[in-house]
């Protein structure tokens, strides 16, 4: 009898337990997911059944259970507990809703608002709503934001409201508000929006002021040096970042510093995005005036631009009619002329926005024609040093230019697979120009009598075979006279014989050839196996001069049987791009990738003069180094750690400065950046007066893993004498305390481009930079909270460290154990 009783009792309690748990589960699930489905009904059912069976299995027990004195106490206890719990929770909720300000013990009082902010909030008339987009990763920033916004809300008497949206948990909401990034506070008033990218007073009040004033920030992008554009939708373009900036009321316009006398008054920010050609001193002055007046600028420099050792040096070289002058075409975007006798530079012609690839003197000595990588053919007036005209035609991809000896014609060829011919006097294209050919053309020459024009080039077909055709046309009519493919390699240079009947050719694979123009027959001969020929010159006596890719010049007699008999002129330290024969045939001028032009005497077979034909001291870089203390180094950053994912020229950045508002959010959330082919940007040891410099982002630490390579080659190796050891800084921010001007310089212009902007934290970096640079003037009076540095002022010596380790890990606990043993021992004895 008793057994049955016990079992029944047990059963009803178990059933009750199951029932209650079931109801609880149902309740929680409902609150959590807001749905009431079949499962919920089942739980509800089980709950009711459980409770019912509890009652029904032993109603008597329930009655006495409820009415007996024991249960009275029981009920009292349960009720008391419940009430007390409710009481405690209620107090908690009240305190929670009160949103009391925390008591800040710190000296820095990070969360105390300045008078300016208090003022602004008091005067707030129209509602402002703030949405903080923070994910789990940004927990501490969110807390910061909350601590500020709490106060903002109170001080604005409720006119400012805020909420937090987690884009991970609530992607719908985030989409609705057009927000794709996290770690941002968006302030909106009406349809105006402004962003604060860090949760501190300056940024937040800044965004507040911005949104209140409905101010549109105007951003000017400098042009004229091959910079990136927000109208460019290609992978290298900036159209997407332009959009993102547009979303926060930033208007973007182009600015040509040569045309404009000053930077416009309404400029919040000037951006120089990846210039290739050098800046002229005038442009630098314009920028300087703007910055001295408290402006802000962002510079992004790609490696091997603006001159510098890593660039391509000299691509084109030409003598004038009498051989007294030499013109060079530089990768720094300049055309320079030189006095051959003294080696001194005379003219510096700027206008090309990118590398200048070839240059030629007009026979009358009054003009110079040049072609550049910017796809333009320009004619310059020597006397004034000004550009006369940019010639029309199919000029994209032009590589070479030549005047006819009679000075009446001008022709250019290039990768555009076309021959353009102009009237050199009128500078208008000939009727038949341009003429299309089936392959790119790499060289163009007029015949000595100016009646013919020849071109050579070639390409590798999809199947892998290379053809090197040459073409000859009648200048007057454009009629094709010869079209012959002799070489199985790209024809790199051609030269007419002095009688104009034979055409000499040189091809990239080291072969040379001749073509009889009348018959069109010709032959080739391997001259330099395994070496690339870069240009060819033929003297009147038939001596041929070849420039090679290894930087040497070979002089080959007309009757030479083999190249062993060549006279070799060496001196250049890098590839020779181009070569020109002086009109008197006695001198050779070479232009090399090493940036120098050299004159060689063919009689003495020796070097005459070496000129440094490019200005490695770029005016802009010089200004940044001197007045701002930031060095834009002439190197390319190698990071071996990222080799596995990309390549060693694509540093992935995960080391940031801890304090700068530009990167602090990235640092805290552990985000990364991807830079593509970057150069190092270094702050100098002692910044100029009033300037504060902060190195923002770094490559991997350790010179075995990353460094700034000054002489890139096939062998990837760190050179401790010349290279900069890692961690290499690739971004620096600078602020002038007196003028309030701000400058940020990055060593890569690709990270915000369409191809890279959506990777990792790249867009954040750009937006944060823009925000920091365009901070509203008004609020610059808000004192920068000096979050004092709490470092180890007197670090312990190694021995001291060891002492601490041993003491804290072993000795102190040991003391405890000994004490315990002692106690135990004493107690034993007490027995």
């Amino acid at each position: 009898m008793n057994d049955i009783r016990i079992n029944r009792n047990l059963a009803r309690w178990i059933l009750l337990g199951v029932g209650v748990v079931s109801l609880l589960v149902m309740g929680i699930a409902y609150i959590a997911t807001n749905t009431f489905d079949t499962v919920s009904y089942i739980s509800l059912g089980i709950g009711i059944l459980g409770i019912a069976s509890f009652v029904l299995l032993d109603p008597q027990a329930l009655v006495t259970g409820i009415t007996g004195r024991t249960s009275q106490y029981g009920i009292t206890t349960v009720l008391m507990s419940l009430f007390f719990t409710v009481f405690v929770v209620a107090i908690f909720i009240i305190i929670y809703s009160a949103k009391l300000d925390p008591w800040d013990l710190t000296k820095e009082q990070k969360y105390k608002l300045s008078e300016q902010t208090v003022d602004i909030l008091a005067k707030l008339e129209d509602d402002v709503h703030v949405v903080g987009f923070y994910t789990e990763q940004h927990a501490s920033q969110r807390k910061d934001a909350e601590l500020f916004l709490q106060q903002y809300e109170k001080l604005s008497n409720g006119k400012l409201t805020y909420e937090f949206v987690d884009p991970d948990r609530n992607p719908g909401m985030a989409m609705q508000l057009n927000m794709t990034r996290a770690g941002i506070l968006v302030f909106s008033q009406g349809d105006q929006t402004a962003e604060a990218s860090t949760a501190d007073e300056r940024a937040m009040s800044g965004a507040l002021v911005q949104v209140m004033s409905g101010e549109v920030r105007k951003l000017y992008m400098v042009t004229g040096h091959g910079e990136r554009s927000v109208d460019d939708f290609n992978t290298t373009g900036y159209s997407e970042i332009g959009q993102l900036l547009g979303n926060v009321n930033v208007e973007i316009e182009a600015l040509n510093l040569l045309e404009a006398e000053n930077v416009p008054e309404d400029a919040s920010l000037v951006v120089v995005a990846g210039p290739i050609a050098q800046f002229s001193p005038i442009e630098v002055e314009t920028l300087k005036s703007y910055l001295d007046a408290g402006g802000s600028a962002l510079f992004m420099f790609d490696p091997a631009t603006g001159g510098g050792q890593l660039g391509n040096g000299l691509r084109g070289i030409a003598f004038n009619r009498d051989g007294s002058r030499l013109a060079t075409a530089g990768a720094d975007g300049t055309v320079r002329t030189w006095d051959v006798g003294t080696g001194k530079q005379e003219l510096e012609l700027r206008g090309h926005t990118s590398d200048v690839l070839d240059v030629a003197y007009s026979p009358d000595g009054k003009q110079i024609a040049s072609v550049g990588r910017d796809g333009t053919v320009r004619v310059w007036d020597i006397a004034s040093g000004e550009q006369l005209k940019q010639l029309e035609g199919q000029t994209t991809g032009v590589i070479r230019i030549a005047y006819s000896p009679d000075g009446r014609m001008l022709a250019s060829v290039g990768e555009n697979q076309a021959l353009n011919v102009w009237n050199a006097k009128t500078l208008e294209p000939m009727d038949y120009s341009p003429i299309s050919v089936p392959s790119p053309l790499y060289t163009v020459q007029f015949s000595p009598d100016s009646s013919l024009v020849a071109a050579g080039g070639g390409m590798t077909s999809a199947s892998g075979s290379t053809e090197g055709p040459i073409y000859v046309w009648k200048v007057k009519t454009g009629e094709q006279e010869v079209a012959k493919t002799l070489h199985t390699s790209l024809v790199i240079d051609i030269a007419f014989s002095s009688d104009g009947e034979t055409l000499h050719t040189a091809a990239w694979d080291g072969t040379g050839g001749t073509v009889d123009i009348a018959s069109g027959d010709g032959s080739t001969e391997m001259l330099y196996p395994g070496v690339n020929i870069t240009s060819l010159a033929v003297r009147e006596d038939g001596t041929k001069v070849y420039s090679l890719a290894d930087g040497t010049v070979h002089v080959r007699e007309a009757d030479a049987k083999s190249s062993d008999e060549d006279a070799v002129l060496s001196g250049h330290t890098d590839m020779i791009w181009v070569m020109a024969l002086s009109p008197d045939g006695k001198t050779i001028a070479t232009g090399s990738r090493d940036g120098t032009a050299r004159l060689w005497s063919l009689e003495r077979l020796a070097s005459i003069i070496t000129v440094k034909a490019q200005d490695t001291s770029d005016a802009l870089l010089g200004y940044l180094a001197e007045e701002w203390g930031v060095r834009v180094n002439d190197d390319v950053v190698i990071d071996l750690r990222t080799q596995s994912q990309y390549d060693q020229y694509t540093p992935i950045i995960y080391t940031f400065d801890q304090t700068s508002p530009i990167v602090s959010a990235l640092s805290e959330s552990g985000n990364l950046l991807v830079f593509s082919v970057a150069r190092s940007i270094q702050p100098v040891e002692t910044p100029p007066q009033d300037i504060t410099l902060t190195a923002l982002l770094f490559s991997t630490a350790g010179s075995d893993k990353s460094w700034g390579e000054t002489e890139p080659s096939q062998i990837v190796q760190f050179n401790p004498d010349k290279d900069l050891p890692g961690p290499v800084s690739m971004g620096v921010s600078a602020e002038n305390a007196t003028t309030q001007a701000r400058v940020v310089i990055y060593g890569d212009a690709d990270f915000p481009s369409n191809g890279f902007v959506n990777q990792y934290g790249n867009s954040d970096l750009m937006m944060n930079t823009a925000n920091w640079l365009t901070e509203s003037e008004e609020l610059l009076n808000i004192p920068v909270k000096n979050i004092g540095s709490h470092m180890m002022d007197k670090p312990l010596p190694q021995s001291g460290l060891v002492v601490v380790y041993v003491t804290s890990i072993c000795l102190l606990p040991a003391v405890g154990l000994v004490a315990g043993a002692a106690v135990w021992f004493v107690r034993r004895r007490r027995r």
Partner: protein, 313 residues
């Protein structure tokens, strides 16, 4: 001092004590006698404030044990059956802690602890760990903590259980001494203890009080026969028994090892006739005495009667 009226306690459906009513006056040592499970411990726990009664009330020194629990508890010294002690403390520490718990303030407490330990004879072991004490010593320590705060009422639950005879005697002596100025409620199922110590006995069985009186009166009340004990020197009990059976006034004779038990007739005193027989036989009379009904007998009688009565219900 102790006043109990209609005290009832249910453990679930099981009624442990049923309408108990009794009292103990100042200076009395009252014995609570009953078999295991009779309700002694439950009653004591209620009196000491450990748990509330289901019905009824009790007061200690005028304070209701439930309504004025703290005042009541302050006047009680309690030694539970299990003699719970904190094994890791020393004797002195333990008694001191208990004294403090029972409300003794710092001034004078240390001296009192010494005094009490001396009283129970444990002063020389004051610094010994309780863990190392024998059972008897632990009992003494337990007693010490019960009296250290000079309570008006002492409630002792089976204080001599598990002790050897010498220890039992010591403890009883202590109780007697201590009980001189206090009210003591003492529970036990050892009959001899009760008869020696108590001025009054409460017999409890199945949660009810079945008898209440002084030992002698109780014995007398229950005894409806008079008994004598006869010890003869030079004859075996068997012989003696045979000889006096049937003598006037003798209704039953029981030979035992020590002598002969004579159940007397209710009307006639057998002693003259027995004496005459002894003289006649020239036996050596060593002892002839009156035997009271032992408490055991009383107890068994009462409890068996009760059991029988219950079954008949």
């Amino acid at each position: 001092m102790i006043q109990v009226e209609g005290l009832t306690k249910y453990y679930g459906p099981h009624k442990a004590i049923d309408s108990l009513s009794f009292h103990a006056d100042a200076g009395e040592i009252v014995g609570f006698l009953g078999p295991n499970g009779a309700g002694k411990t439950t009653t004591m726990r209620i009196l000491t404030g450990y748990m509330p009664p289901s019905e009824g009330r009790a007061t200690i020194a005028g304070f209701d044990v439930f309504e004025q629990s703290l005042e009541a508890r302050g006047r009680i010294g309690y030694l539970p059956e299990t003699v719970p002690l904190y094994k890791e403390l020393t004797v002195w520490q333990y008694v001191d802690y208990m004294a403090a718990l029972r409300g003794m303030g710092n001034p004078g407490r240390a001296e009192r602890v010494d005094e009490v330990l001396d009283r129970v004879g444990m002063l020389d072991r004051a610094d010994s760990l309780i863990d190392s004490l024998s059972k008897g010593m632990r009992q003494r320590v337990g007693l010490a903590q019960a009296i250290v705060h000079k309570p008006d009422v002492l409630i002792l639950d089976e204080p001599t259980i598990g002790l050897d005879p010498r220890q039992v005697r010591e403890v009883r002596e202590l109780i007697r001494e201590v009980g001189e100025h206090r009210t003591v409620l003492l529970s036990t199922h050892i009959l001899s203890e009760v008869s020696q110590l108590c001025s009054r006995i409460l017999i409890i069985n199945n949660g009810q009080i079945v008898a209440e009186d002084s030992p002698a009166t109780l014995s007398n009340r229950l005894q409806d026969t008079t008994r004598y004990f006869l010890h003869i020197g030079n004859a075996t009990p068997k012989e003696v028994a045979k000889a006096i059976r049937g003598v006037a006034g003798v209704s039953e004779v029981y030979p035992t090892e020590e002598g002969v038990e004579i159940v007397a007739d209710s009307q006639i005193d057998p002693r003259p006739a027995v004496t005459a027989t002894i003289v006649q036989k020239s036996w050596d009379l060593l002892e002839l005495r009156h035997v009271d009904m032992s408490l055991e007998d009383i107890f068994l009688q009462l409890t068996t009667d009760e059991a029988v009565a219950e079954e008949e219900d």
